[in-house]
């Protein structure tokens, strides 16, 4: 089976298409096609079908989307159902629309980020680094964040192998080798799924206090964080963009987790349609998370100078704090929670500049 990708449609059109198609698949059609002939002057009460066979097979064919439940001596999930029309629709939708949309969305957003970096560059710290640092994230918060990161990246990669492996990787590696990757990915993905839910809950209980709406957040949003108007609007611990991202992670992450749990536990006898809907919800939710993560990873590493340090060491430069989170920085200064550059270096196990000088002088003697 060959996968010919036609000329790419604009991203937003694809997104709208996928959303509309998802709605179309999820909602059963309401029209009921009936072959009963319309009323005519000769037969004012209407003519009923005199061929019972056609009624029967119309029901079996299920063009109306309602599943006819027959009886079978073989007991199992939906063994009484003769035809499930949704199955083929779901399969074609997954192979055609979903794979293409996911591929183009990921590549597109990655491309946009490259473009943003080329045009805007790394946002430096106004006034340069001061050397003094202030405590931003506790050990537990960092552990929670990086646990979620590791689990999410593993799930994203294994999930993408399962979704896009056949068109992209199978031609490269051949069926036998790719089947190994796919089997490993499926087992890994299934096992790490609940870890994502647990990490999400850990994050929910540790980061929520920083992500409640504060006065001034709407103002930040209206100025788009400083893109509109002049200067950086006033910000607390997290700005509105970060808060948005946090709640998207939590809410869509929960949706993805729950749909994943439905998919991975067939022992509750759920029918194929529930599985198909869960699968689509899972993929669309995961796509949103992956796209957001790309942006998040960009901002946290090469997009903003001095940001990554906060999540790795737990401390950020005071000038960075003043520039990006001024209200919180002022609170920390008032409480005296800053460290000097030497103290910070000692904490990290590096020789502070002052000590290095002394050591050099001692050696010179």
């Amino acid at each position: 089976m060959s996968f010919r990708l036609h000329r790419p449609t604009p991203f937003f059109l694809r997104l709208v298409t996928i959303l509309l198609l998802a709605v179309a698949i999820l909602l059963p059609p309401t029209s009921g096609a009936s072959n009963i002939p319309p009323k005519s002057p000769d037969y004012p009460q209407g003519v009923s079908s005199i061929n019972p066979g056609s009624d029967l097979w119309r029901e079996v064919r299920q063009r109306d989307g309602l599943i006819v439940d027959g009886i079978s001596q073989v007991k199992g999930v939906e063994t009484g159902v003769l035809i499930n029309v949704r199955g083929d629709q779901w399969a074609r939708f997954r192979i055609n629309e979903v794979t293409k949309t996911v591929s183009y969305a990921l590549v597109g957003v990655f491309g946009i980020l490259v473009l943003v970096f080329v045009l805007r560059g790394k946002v430096g710290i106004k006034g340069g680094r001061s050397g003094r640092v202030v405590r931003r994230f506790t050990d537990y918060e960092r552990i929670v964040h990086w646990t979620l990161t590791i689990v999410f990246l593993f799930l994203a990669i294994t999930g993408l192998i399962l979704l896009l492996g056949r068109p992209l990787l199978l031609p490269l590696f051949g069926k036998e080798v790719f089947a190994l990757f796919a089997s490993a990915s499926k087992e890994g993905h299934n096992l790490f799924g609940p870890l994502f839910l647990v990490s999400l809950l850990m994050m929910l209980f540790s980061f929520t206090r920083h992500n409640i709406y504060e006065k001034g957040d709407l103002g930040w949003l209206l100025k788009l964080g400083g893109l509109i108007g002049d200067g950086h609007p006033s910000v607390g611990f997290f700005n509105m963009g970060e808060k948005f991202w946090y709640w998207i992670v939590i809410l869509i992450g929960l949706v993805v987790s729950i749909s994943g749990l439905i998919l991975v536990s067939p022992n509750f006898g759920q029918g194929r349609v529930i599985m198909e809907i869960s699968h689509l919800v899972h993929v669309i939710g995961a796509l949103v998370l992956m796209l957001g993560s790309l942006g998040h990873m960009y901002m946290g590493t090469i997009g903003i100078e001095g940001a990554l340090q906060g999540m790795t060491s737990g401390y950020v430069d005071t000038n960075w704090a003043d520039a990006h989170h001024d209200r919180w920085s002022r609170e920390c200064q008032q409480k005296g929670l800053t460290l000097s550059a030497d103290e910070f270096a000692r904490l990290r196990g590096e020789t502070p500049a002052a000590d290095a000088e002394v050591a050099a002088q001692e050696r010179a003697k």
Binding site: S72, T79, N84, A182, P266, R272
Partner: protein, 195 residues
């Protein structure tokens, strides 16, 4: 080349389940896996019909299209077979198949579903014809012996037909004519039927 298909004549099927039993016995199919099943519609009402359903060996099979590992292949006879060695047990073919033909041996949560099993039209799998590995994994290979699937051979009323599509449609056409069926009555017309 032949294009192999199943056809179940709903007028003749008496729901005896001989096809189900024959298939299960011939291929040594484990507990819980059922390659073929008989479905009865309008049970107990007028117009009750039964149909024997297994893999329909579709020309454009949804299972083959959706499989993430591409384990399905169609033989030159139009029989859709699959390679159990490559199967990862994801279950997508079961979701996609309109007839629910793919079956899985395991059903626990978080577990792999095991290797997918389905009707092979008694044509085995990618292993060597009539070898013991082929029998262990896919069951008997009757097509390689020049025989037709056992379910159709065992059908007590010749409701289930299996073979080349042209031959099958010819047989069925003759039956329809003999029954005196018409566009207004697809069933047996006992006045006109030449039985």
């Amino acid at each position: 080349m032949a294009r192999m298909k199943f056809y179940c004549d709903a007028e003749r099927c008496i729901e005896c389940n001989a096809c189900v039993t024959a298939c299960k016995n011939e291929h040594d199919i484990p507990w819980g896996v059922n390659r073929r099943r008989v479905v009865t519609i309008k049970d107990g009402e007028q117009g009750e019909r039964s149909l024997s359903v297994a893999c329909m060996h579709c020309s454009d099979a949804p299972c083959a299209a959706v499989c993430p590992v591409d384990i399905f292949y169609t033989t030159s006879d139009g029989i859709v077979l699959h390679d159990k060695d490559l199967c990862i047990g994801c279950g997508y073919c079961f979701y996609a198949c309109p007839f629910g033909a793919p079956q899985f041996p395991e059903e626990a949560a978080f577990s792999s579903r095991g290797k997918m099993d389905k009707c092979t039209f008694c044509a085995g799998g990618p292993e060597d014809d009539n070898s013991s590995e082929e029998y262990k994994k896919y069951g008997r290979n009757r097509i390689a012996e020049g025989k037709l699937p056992l379910c159709a051979e065992m059908c007590s009323t010749h409701a289930l037909l299996a073979g080349d599509a042209d031959v099958l449609s010819d047989i069925y056409r003759k039956r329809v004519i003999n029954r005196g069926a018409s566009a207004f009555d697809w069933g047996v017309n006992f006045d006109k039927a030449k039985l």
